[in-house]
């Protein structure tokens, strides 16, 4: 069956929103499809994209933006396009949204200078920049995924507790409402440096402050997104062929060791 499968990855505003290597997530998903022999298309969803384009995608990727770019995006993401994106995420299209992207899917973002930028209100949280002189949240970030369903599915997939490793680099502080956090901070600051939460999880959408980018070094997260997208599209159980993730495992081990964080090593995927 596999050779017939196709996947379309929608990449939100690739030129405006890919500030800290976030395109690595799109590259990672694309290559993991190609290495397994699936046909994959990465569709840039920039200012020229339409609501029709948005409705075609099976998986979504969105990265960070500078404040001014974020404003341009928010001005563009209105009306039919905003509606299409809302439907997609509400109906469970999987996606990974880093740093600035979750802010535009949430209630609002208040930048260091200038006006509050309203978001789509899908994620129940708000983000506020504490001002131009406030310290940025910067450094290596390790979290344990705690969002209930995601944690269960990932644990079943890898056979151990899922730890995500990345790098955070953000000025804004996020306060969650009723939405479930993605995980709990083991190392680093996370959403706001106060409540120990990191990111958010809504339907199948993952919001995180973890750059790195997050997927190449946490390949089980990439595979969970791909598997979920394929299962939704083809309405049948999908078992992804294993890939050689030795380099990713070595990269994780090296950083865990340096940070003196003791976590179980991800076992071979089944």
């Amino acid at each position: 069956m596999n050779h017939k499968m196709e996947l379309t990855i929608g990449w939100l505003y690739p030129t405006l929103m890919s500030t800290y290597g976030d395109r690595g997530n799109a590259i990672c998903l694309k290559r993991r499809c190609e290495w397994r022999g699936y046909t994959v298309t990465v569709m840039p969803l920039d200012q020229n994209a339409t609501a029709v384009d948005l409705r075609q995608v099976d998986l979504l990727v969105g990265g960070g933006a500078q404040d001014r770019q974020q404003e341009i995006v928010m001005r563009d993401l209105r009306g039919a396009k905003a509606e299409a994106l809302r439907e997609k995420i509400d109906n469970g299209t999987p996606g990974v949204f880093t740093c600035g992207a979750p802010q535009l899917l949430a209630h609002y973002y208040e930048p260091a200078l200038g006006q509050r930028i309203e978001g789509l209100g899908l994620f129940d949280f708000v983000s506020v920049h504490p001002g131009p002189n406030a310290r940025r949240c910067i450094g290596n970030l390790v979290i344990e995924v705690t969002a209930t369903r995601l944690a269960q599915e990932l644990t079943a997939m890898i056979g151990s507790t899922p730890y995500v490793i990345g790098f955070e680099n953000h000025g804004g502080r996020t306060k969650l409402g009723q939405v479930e956090p993605l995980g709990r901070v083991v190392q680093g600051l996370g959403n706001n440096g106060e409540d120990g939460t990191e990111g958010a999880f809504y339907q199948n959408a993952i919001a995180t402050y973890s750059h790195g980018p997050v997927l190449p070094k946490n390949p089980f997260l990439a595979d969970w997104l791909l598997q979920t997208a394929l299962q939704q599209k083809y309405q049948e159980p999908i078992l992804l062929a294993p890939l050689d993730d030795t380099l990713a495992t070595q990269a994780r081990e090296a950083m865990f060791k340096r940070l003196r964080v003791s976590v179980p090593i991800v076992a071979k995927q089944r």
Binding site: T15, G21, I27, E34, Q66, N169, P216
Partner: protein, 445 residues
């Protein structure tokens, strides 16, 4: 320019200078380092206005050089031009470009009673420090080379940097000469708003346009109205021939014709560095013959396209510390046709602790050629992973070798370099220092 200094200041200045010189002497005698920062730091504590008191003694004025890429090379080139013209020049040649580094460089040219002897000072200054030092330094010329995404973990975002520069330049005397890169939209816009004397440099060479806009682009939106800029062509990253279809903003009027000038070293970025230095040198009265002569005989700075012979093999070190710089070094490596490349990625403070930027580099262009890629550094596996994900086809003959240990990596890379070829080494900043130490200290030989 020279100004009278009050007696009490003169005494404190003398004390500060004497202390700094003692510190330099001790640091160097005990071989603790190059003493390019510490003396400045200590002297500044003794006299907080030290930077200003030293700066105002420079006879003909100070040239300040700022920008993300090319500061060191441009400074060295301009310095050489001025020296060949017979001037005495103070220069922070080691690249220590924070306030203490600038003070240390000036102190090097100061006698024990605090009298500075230099016709010119060329100071390369860190992007973030520019607003802080403009008032005390009162530069005669400000060179603004470019603004790219670099070390965002320290600086935040590029838009805010140019705004802070513009604000800090605004109160300077109107005869201050500002030399911005016209091909950089943000700097073009800044230059067009200044009341000072502005001279733009840039390219007029459509033959050098890239086929497509690379991914690692920071600013393709109009700095005045936010509309997408239209490019007739892109030279590198977001540098090119542009205009805004909405508000009419366009590239600044060039004060130099790039087609009339040769360039130093390899790579288009060095053409920009050359043009900036030429324009500044002309303003300071250096004659064109001396300028051309300096370009023709220019030797690379430390690790910037620096060439070495090791074990009978040719090695070229190309500092690669941000997406734009690394894309350009990859272009240069591919043009040179080398089959073996060593990449060394560190994440220490001088490199920037965030290595996410490697995903903005088009490493695909290095990988798709095949050959041997050796990887090392503190973040060796992150770099290896980036290269692995650059590989669409497993069978393009690429050999990826991962060596945690830098000496082993260099030895392996040399072994894989045929006798008549060049080994290209692409290190981040601290990695470059280590690589040079291994290669010139003959640690592995």
């Amino acid at each position: 320019m020279s100004k009278t200094i009050q007696l009490i200041d003169r005494l404190r200045l003398g004390l500060a200078v004497l202390t700094a010189k003692t510190v330099t002497f001790i640091v160097r005698s005990l071989r603790l380092g190059a003493a390019s920062v510490l003396p400045g730091e200590i002297a500044r504590r003794i006299h907080p206005q030290l930077l200003h008191l030293l700066s105002c003694q420079v006879k003909q004025g100070i040239i300040l050089i700022a920008g993300t890429n090319g500061k060191t090379t441009t400074s060295l080139l301009l310095c050489t031009m001025l020296e060949r013209q017979g001037w005495r020049v103070a220069h922070n040649a080691t690249g220590a470009n924070l306030e203490n580094g600038l003070i240390t460089a000036l102190l090097e040219n100061t006698n024990p009673i605090g009298q500075l002897n230099a016709d010119y000072a060329i100071l390369e200054v860190d992007e973030n420090v520019v607003p802080k030092v403009l008032q005390p330094i009162q530069p005669r010329i400000i060179l603004c080379l470019n603004l790219f995404r670099d070390q965002l973990d320290r600086y935040g975002e590029v838009d805010t940097i140019s705004q802070r520069w513009a604000k800090a330049i605004a109160p300077l005397p109107l005869e201050t000469i500002v030399i911005p890169n016209a091909d950089d939209p943000t700097l073009s816009s800044m230059g067009q708003q200044l009341r000072q004397r502005v001279l733009f440099f840039g390219l007029r060479e459509p033959k050098q346009y890239l086929d497509e806009i690379p991914h690692a682009v920071d600013s393709i939106y109009c700095p005045s109205c936010g509309h997408s800029l239209e490019y007739q062509g892109v030279y590198l990253s977001h540098l090119g021939d542009f205009h805004c279809p909405s508000c009419g903003f366009h590239k600044g009027q060039l004060a130099i014709d790039s087609r009339e000038w040769p360039q130093i070293l390899i790579g288009l970025y060095n053409k920009y560095n050359t043009l900036a230095a030429v324009l500044a040198a002309q303003q300071l009265g250096v004659d064109d013959v001396t300028i051309r002569d300096t370009i023709a005989n220019f030797q690379a700075a430390f690790g910037r396209a620096e060439e070495l012979e090791v074990k009978g093999k040719h090695v070229r070190i190309l500092l690669s510390k941000n997406p734009v710089g690394m894309n350009e070094t990859i272009r240069a490596v591919n043009q040179a046709g080398g089959q073996t490349t060593l990449l060394v990625l560190n994440d220490r403070i001088p490199d920037g602790t965030d290595v996410s930027w490697i995903w903005d580099v088009d490493t695909e262009k290095l990988v798709e050629r095949g050959g041997t890629l050796v990887v090392s550094g503190d973040r060796v596996y992150d770099m290896a992973l980036r290269l692995r994900y650059s590989q669409q086809d497993d069978n393009n003959g690429l050999q990826l070798i991962v060596k945690e240990d830098l000496q082993a990596a260099i030895a392996t890379a040399l072994e894989h370099t045929p006798a008549n070829e060049t080994l290209h080494i692409l290190p981040t900043y601290s990695a470059m220092l280590e690589v040079r130490e291994v290669l010139t200290g003959r640690k592995i030989l």
